[in-house]
Amino acid sequence: MELNVNEALRYLGAGEGADAALRERVEGQAARLTALVRPRYWYRVTPVTHGAQGILLAEAGLFLTGRTAALMLEECGQAVLLACTLGAQFDALLRTEQARDMAQAVILDACGSAWVEAGCDRAEEEIAGRFPGKYLTDRFSPGYGDLPLTVQPELCRALDAQRRLGLCVTPSLLLTPGKSVTAVLGIADRPQRRRVRGCACCSMKQTCTLRKRGMTCGI
């Protein structure tokens, strides 16, 4: 599992424009973070039932409405629910750093985003390994496309995410701890097109600060 420093630099709005000093600072925080915190993940496999109103994941007691889920899982007989988090320990580090050095804190924050993504990638590799001969769709999350954020609490409940990862949802649908991701992946019998990646599919496309500066986060 490796923290992608270029990705962290992009989250900071810098990307290729970063000078050596900034890159070095980001590398320093990345090294510190990866030594202190490991991403944890948990997943669960559930059969998929396609219906007129949406996708039913019966064993998980979960119903996914909208076009995104229907399209993503179109060719899938099973789906994986995934959650990944850097846990409360990352939040504690970030709180201390915000009190000590705000500049360092924003770097740590960007590194945290890249690190939790690395955790998701690792989970995805493991899942792929459990299903030889099958193909995974892209990961997609509540808030992507038209998959509503309101599915977040049920998704976490289906994953027993508090017990497994210490992951909870606030009444305003924020995941806590802060650096956490939940996602759905489909399992299909033939190769799946990459669909979710890119700004066109991102729910942040209207408001993304990187886009305002003419950049992308690379996802």
């Binding site: 900071l12 669960r44 064993e59 007691g61 409360a88 990862l165 210490g166 606030t170 649908l173 802060g178």
Partner: protein, 787 residues
């Protein structure tokens, strides 16, 4: 019904209920607790099966029956908890089995990780505890906790509102930490101190992985210890647990050797597991417990064992510090936190916290400061006050086991403060003085110390939690007293076996080269048995002396800490060598060199006044950095580094003004807040950092701030500019509600908004005056409104 049954031999609890209900057809996603009302016979039958299998205690089906999890079900806590407890009691009737009220985590994280306040969590647990006791539970169980703070809220709620014995079990990973980072010693000492009747581990791991953790737990508590593990780990693909009943029992039985006496099962177990376990345990005798008392204070993540010298930082204290007094009066918690951070970075193990000052409401301020410090700093606190109400308010919200500074030999003081110490399981410092004052001889001080220990014991406080302060007197005024203090320290150590606390700095008052005297006294006192010196850890000669002492006493194994301390000092010289680098203040700010900027500012302040320094040098330097940021040459971290270097300059200006007794220069007040429901506040904190470093007086209301708090602050302090931030689409409505409420004020402020999901359009539609696309723009807005 008392808790004696927990202490006599082996006790068998029950196994899982949730997974058993699922096997019996509870649909996925359904709330198992609602079965208490919809299918009471099913619930009763599961309890009966456990009782028949040998369980002596069954957990009522109330794990998630709290106000938060029952919201939208149309059922009240009283109904669901009451029914659950009654069903378990009905099943127990005539069997000799006991009914436990079961309380699990609330399902939302507590502050500072989540938005649920400690006091709210307490209220929610109180409701459950009262309903469970009213329905006739024999005991209460708090289980599957990963946050020690939440466990404390639940335990206080049960202890304060019922007479039930309480079991508390938490969930750990193989590394010996909970998800929130809580350690086994921290859990043990905190919960024992708060009055739990038995503690242990449940869920999360299989029994084979629990052995090492349970043995650590047994070494850290006098209480009976519980093991209630899962049937191994579930497979993510098929959901099955990997241990059958025989393997489960075979892994649990050896735990008897560590001293565990209370057994049961968690997820994946069933009555069959309990039956096999009962047979496997039959006739076995648990090993005797070996608990060696050690003094300790802790936060959840950092247990500090006092088995050598541990430094207590003294800087969070207004006495004789103008800048600190001003921060207290202005409720500037950031400043206080910064003082604590510096002490922690300098190597303090524990921080003394004193916020008593005329004009400060200590009872309100103590818990606020405790919460602010523990949110950002992992080290334990020693709450320093003579006001029992302030101490109780602080101890109540403290997460872990704290120390209290102090009691003394006066009977009325002991009677007032020791019950508070006992209730919250704190350690306590006893000053060797009484109504006659400070005795002149070591023997007399020792006598008072012994009296304090006696009183503490009478209140049920164990002796490892009693620390004695033999009192340092100024050697230039009472020269013979230095020797008496040292003798008293030695007697307390040798004859009472207690820890010694001593504030050492006073010794050198009025003498030249104070550091030398203080350092010498510190070394002699440590040699006599001082383990808890209270000092200023920013004075490196004191910390050097402690580091050297730890080497000579053998405490610092292989001199590791000593070597790394001095290797680090060599690597990073405190000041740049002369001649190598001559920066102007302006350059130091642009390059974000904090200490350099502070040093240059100090020099500049000797020549000129603060205001011209700010207006003539600081602001133009920041503007140049800001322009580079706009052009995309510099990025956010560099902008913030410059701002922080500017902060160091401001701090120098403020200190200079405080020394002169002048009012602080502030360019105008701005309220900033992350709106209600939103707890991602890094964006707001970035804005605050920048605004403060342009000289604005920023009132930071924090995160998850209700509209009423924003409006109330604006009205009360007549604030003209308000910045609101929101990160989630789900919290935009509360941003809008805040703006609406601000518009109803007699003198509505100017409002700017920002945050990931906010756009210029949306800002206008919500009625905000300005949209700030980034933190830098908020400075421009502030300038145009406040100048």
């Amino acid at each position: 019904m008392g808790s004696d049954f927990l202490k006599n031999g082996i006790v068998l609890l029950d196994g899982a209920t949730g997974t058993v209900f699922q096997q019996k057809g509870l649909p996925p996603g359904g709330r198992p607790e609602l079965l208490n009302l919809s299918d009471p016979e099913l619930v009763r039958s599961v309890h009966r099966e456990y009782l028949e299998a040998g369980s002596q205690v069954v957990y009522a089906n109330t794990f998630g029956a709290n106000r938060l999890k029952l919201a939208h079900t149309g059922r009240s806590v009283e109904e669901v908890v009451g029914a659950g407890v009654r069903l378990a009691r009905e099943a127990c009737a005539g069997t000799g089995g006991r009914t436990a009220l079961d309380m699990g985590p609330l399902g939302e994280l507590l502050e500072p990780m989540g938005s649920l306040r400690f006091e709210q969590a307490y209220e929610i647990f109180r409701e459950v505890a009262v309903a469970g006791a009213a329905a006739g539970a024999d005991l209460a169980v708090i289980e599957t906790m990963t946050d020690l703070y939440e466990a404390k809220a639940a335990l206080l709620a049960v202890k304060e509102h019922t007479a039930l014995p309480v079991l508390v079990t938490m969930t750990f990973d193989t590394g010996g930490r909970t998800f929130t980072g809580c350690t086994i010693p921290s859990m043990a000492r905190t919960l024992e101190g708060l009055g739990a009747d038995a503690i242990g581990l449940n869920c999360s791991l299989g029994p084979d992985q629990l052995g090492r953790l349970l043995s650590e737990l047994c070494r850290n508590t006098r209480l009976p210890v519980i093991a209630k593990p899962n049937a191994g780990l579930p497979d993510p693909v098929d959901g099955r647990y990997d241990l059958g009943p025989e393997a489960f029992a075979a892994a649990l039985v050896p735990l008897l050797d560590t001293g565990v006496t209370i057994f049961g099962g968690c997820c994946g177990t069933s009555p069959a597991y309990i039956r096999v376990l009962k047979e496997a345990l039959a006739g076995k005798v648990p090993a005797p417990r070996r608990y060696a008392p050690v003094s300790m204070v802790c936060t959840p993540t950092v247990p500090v064992r006092i088995d050598g010298v541990r430094v207590i930082g003294e800087r969070i204290n207004p006495t004789g510090k103008k800048r600190f007094q001003q921060a207290l009066l202005e409720e500037d918690l950031d400043y206080i936190l910064d003082v604590g951070l510096q002490e922690a970075d300098a190597g303090a193990d524990i921080l003394d916290v004193n916020v008593g000052y005329p004009g400060v409401d200590e009872v309100a301020m103590m818990p606020r400061v405790v919460k602010a410090l523990q949110a950002a700093l992992p080290i334990p606190l020693q709450l320093d006050s003579s006001n029992p109400a302030a101490l109780e308010a602080g101890l109540r919200v403290y997460n872990g086991k704290a120390a209290v500074n102090s009691v003394n030999g006066k009977p009325e003081v002991l009677e007032e403060i020791l019950p508070v110490v006992k209730k919250y399981g704190a350690a306590v410092v006893g000053l060797a003085l009484d109504e006659e004052g400070i005795p002149q001889t070591a023997e007399e001080r020792f006598t008072i110390a012994a009296r304090i220990l006696e009183a503490a014991r009478a209140h049920g406080i164990p002796e490892e939690d009693v620390w004695i302060d033999c009192l340092t007197l100024t050697v230039s005024a009472q020269q013979a007293q230095a020797g008496e203090t040292l003798r008293a320290v030695s007697m307390v150590r040798e004859k009472l076996g207690l820890q010694n606390v001593l504030g050492v700095s006073n010794i050198s008052f009025g003498l030249p080269n104070r550091g030398l005297i203080t350092q010498n006294f510190l070394v002699q006192a440590m040699a006599m048995g001082l383990t808890l010196p209270i000092l200023n850890p920013n004075q490196s000669e004191m910390m050097d002396a402690v580091a050297a002492f730890r080497v000579l006493s053998g405490e610092d194994g292989e001199c590791r800490d000593y070597i790394s301390r001095f290797a680090a000092q060599k690597a990073a010289p405190a000041t740049a060598p002369a001649g190598e680098l001559r920066l102007t203040l302006d350059e130091a700010i642009a390059r974000g060199l904090r200490s350099e900027a502070g040093r240059l500012a100090r020099a500049a302040l000797e020549q000129g006044d603060g205001l011209s320094l700010v207006e003539g040098t600081l602001i133009p330097a920041l503007d140049r950095v800001g322009a580079d940021y706009e052009r995309g040459v510099l990025f956010l971290p560099q902008l913030l580094s410059a701002a922080q270097a500017a902060q160091a300059v401001f701090e120098e200006v403020r200190s200079a003004l405080a020394r002169q007794g002048s009012a602080p220069v502030k360019k105008g007040r701005i309220v900033v807040a992350t709106v209600q429901g939103d707890i991602h506040d890094i964006g707001k904190n970035i804005v605050k950092t920048l605004l403060e470093n342009y000289g604005y007086d920023v009132i930071d209301l924090g995160r998850d701030v209700p509209p009423e708090t924003v409006a109330g602050t604006v009205r009360e302090k007549d604030v003209r500019l308000v910045g609101l931030s929101a990160l989630m689409t789900t919290t935009l409505p509360s941003m809008e509600a805040t703006i609406r409420l601000l518009h109803t004020l007699p003198r509505p402020p100017v409002i700017f908004v920002g945050g990931a999901v906010v756009t210029a359009d949306y800002a206008a539609r919500m009625g905000a005056d300005y949209y700030a696309k980034d933190a830098r723009q908020s400075v421009e807005i502030a300038r145009s409104i406040l100048g």
